[in-house]
Amino acid sequence: MELNPIIEVKDLHFSYKNHKVLSGINFELYRGEVVSLLGINGCGKSTLIKLILKLIHTDADIKIDAKELKSYSHKDLAHKIAYIPQYNNTPFNYQVLDMVLMARVTKLGFFAQPSKKDYEVAMAALEKIGMEHLKNRAFGQLSGGQKQMVLLARSIAQEVNTFIMDEPVAGLDYGNQIRLLELIDSLASEGYTFLKTTHYPDHALLMSSRVVVMHEGVIVADDAPDAVITKEMIEKIYDIKADIVTHGEHKRCLPIFEKSRQKDLHELTI
């Protein structure tokens, strides 16, 4: 692990108009880490990610690779960090290979077109995640899981080591969720750094080196997964009961139905 964090956020405050979204955020991401960002909808985790990626303007003290975020152009930032958004469809249904090739475009000069080398890098990225057989397929016709994999391949073709993912498993079926997590895990073991938001404490336990919990715009916990994800934390953040059990080498988080609450609901409907 290097001394300088790849991302360093110091005392960040942020508001949309008069609505306070983030207050006093201090956060670092070091090379080689897999950090899961947990929290309910509206807790500010997406905003934090967008601020780091310069998708929202800020004058706050954020450093990327020990340099002020303000001094980065989008192009420079794309040479440090890759962003994997939740997939959405464009009306133009690009081929998978073209989709991956998009990572190469801002590495080219203004008059240059993608070269043979760029195609090779894109193909190598597809091969790395085992999607090369889909290279001529239309992106829009892929399953949700395949789309996320292609976007991962695009980030690999961007030739950076740090990936930021926004709820990578959202909308995927059960099998694809697990397969995508496995892929992220194996990329992490190759030395890629991940910062990902997630709605699943269980996924955070399975495959994080560190878990950050956000609640109402504040970071309420930032530590090893086992230390952060506890019964008390789950109850506080999500207002549900859960058991943390040990299964094999991992702790797992199992939610528990509350009979009393079901009764309440039942009474409510009557």
Binding site: P91, F92, Y94
Partner: protein, 339 residues
């Protein structure tokens, strides 16, 4: 590798364009045979002895047909390329210079120019300025109702913008001299290449060609832009700069087409769709291929307008008549991909 395929499509299209241009130079009310044409070329280029008196042939080719062929190529390329660029910039496959109101705005600007000034340059500038105002107005209306990227709202905004400038144009027509300016404006608006003159064509060829080349060079960014602003930024694109430059270039090219030949609709809408259906949506190929295929399309439409009947059909009417059925087919096929 697909960049070799890209080149292949472009080369084939360019060969077809050269072939069609040559035929357009030869065919007309006075047909010139291919052997005469080659004799003439030999005579001009390699100073071989003249096989006959070429005065008439030279005047038909150089004075009448060449400006027209050049203008058809320029305008077809300008409209189709601008259409593809507008569709990419607004991430909206339903827009075109016509639908966004650019053509109506430019025609209002050009008519104003004709009314107030003899200067060709003023007419061009006003056409561009009002073309740009029209697309700005369409975007403003489109974003007024919803903040989100709405395909339909932008089209509606364009419809409103186009009707506004069409009405303003009617005012110009109303005050224009009914014996001289009015017929000129009306005939010019119907869309015609028949008034092409070599000097004027060459003058407008420079800015049109430069804008098309600019759009071709920027084409590799358009794929990224069409993913939405956030994703494009995260991939390293200077979204604001690319968008404003691309919209200015597309507006300039399509406004100048209006100055030269009036409103020629549908080319900017259908050509990009046809190409997407044939070779896919990647803009690295779509933009240059739109330029070449747009030129082929308008050249063919112009040939039909000259040759089909004994009187010439205004080309704007013809492109609508050809464009509408093609667009209906495109809509049917593309419906699934847009949802």
């Amino acid at each position: 590798m697909s960049h070799i395929n890209d080149a292949k499509y472009l080369i084939i299209a360019t060969i077809i364009l050269i072939l069609f241009s040559t035929l357009s130079l030869l065919w007309g009310q006075f047909d010139i045979s291919i052997s005469t044409f080659f004799d003439y070329l030999n005579h001009k280029l390699f100073s071989s002895p003249a096989t006959q008196d070429f005065t008439l042939i030279e005047s038909i080719i150089l004075d009448i047909r060449l400006p027209r062929v050049l203008l058809a190529i320029l305008i077809g390329a300008a409209l189709a390329t601008s259409g593809a660029v507008f569709q990419a910039m607004f991430v909206n496959p339903l827009v075109s210079p016509g639908i966004l109101g650019v053509l109506a705005g430019a025609s209002f600007g050009a008519a104003c120019g004709m009314l107030i000034s003899e200067h060709w340059f003023i007419v061009q500038i006003l056409a561009f300025v009002f073309g740009f105002v029209a697309v700005g107005f369409a975007v403003f209306i489109g974003s007024m109702v919803t903040n989100s990227r709405s395909t339909v709202m932008l089209v509606l905004g364009g419809v409103i913008s186009a009707s506004l400038f069409t009405s303003l144009l009617s005012i110009i027509k109303y005050v224009a001299d009914p014996y001289s300016t009015l017929p000129a404006i009306v005939y010019w608006l119907m869309g015609s290449l028949s008034m092409a003159e070599l000097n004027e064509t060459l003058l407008v060829a420079v800015p049109i060609t430069l804008s098309i080349l600019g759009m071709v060079f920027m084409s590799k960014y358009f794929d990224l832009m069409s993913l939405g602003d956030e994703e494009a930024k995260a991939l390293g694109v200077n979204v604001k700069l690319i968008r404003i430059v691309a919209i200015i270039l597309a507006t300039l090219a399509s406004s100048l087409s209006v100055v030269m030949a009036g409103i020629i609709g549908w080319v900017g809408l259908i050509i990009p769709h046809i190409i997407r259906m044939a070779v896919g949506p990647s803009h690295r190929l779509l933009i240059p291929l739109s330029a070449v295929v747009g030129a082929i399309f308008l050249l063919s439409a112009d040939a039909i307008s000259r040759l089909a009947l004994s009187v010439e059909i205004p080309i704007g009417i013809l492109t609508s008549l050809i464009g509408i059925p093609i667009f209906i087919i495109v809509l049917r096929n593309a419906r699934a991909a847009w949802n």
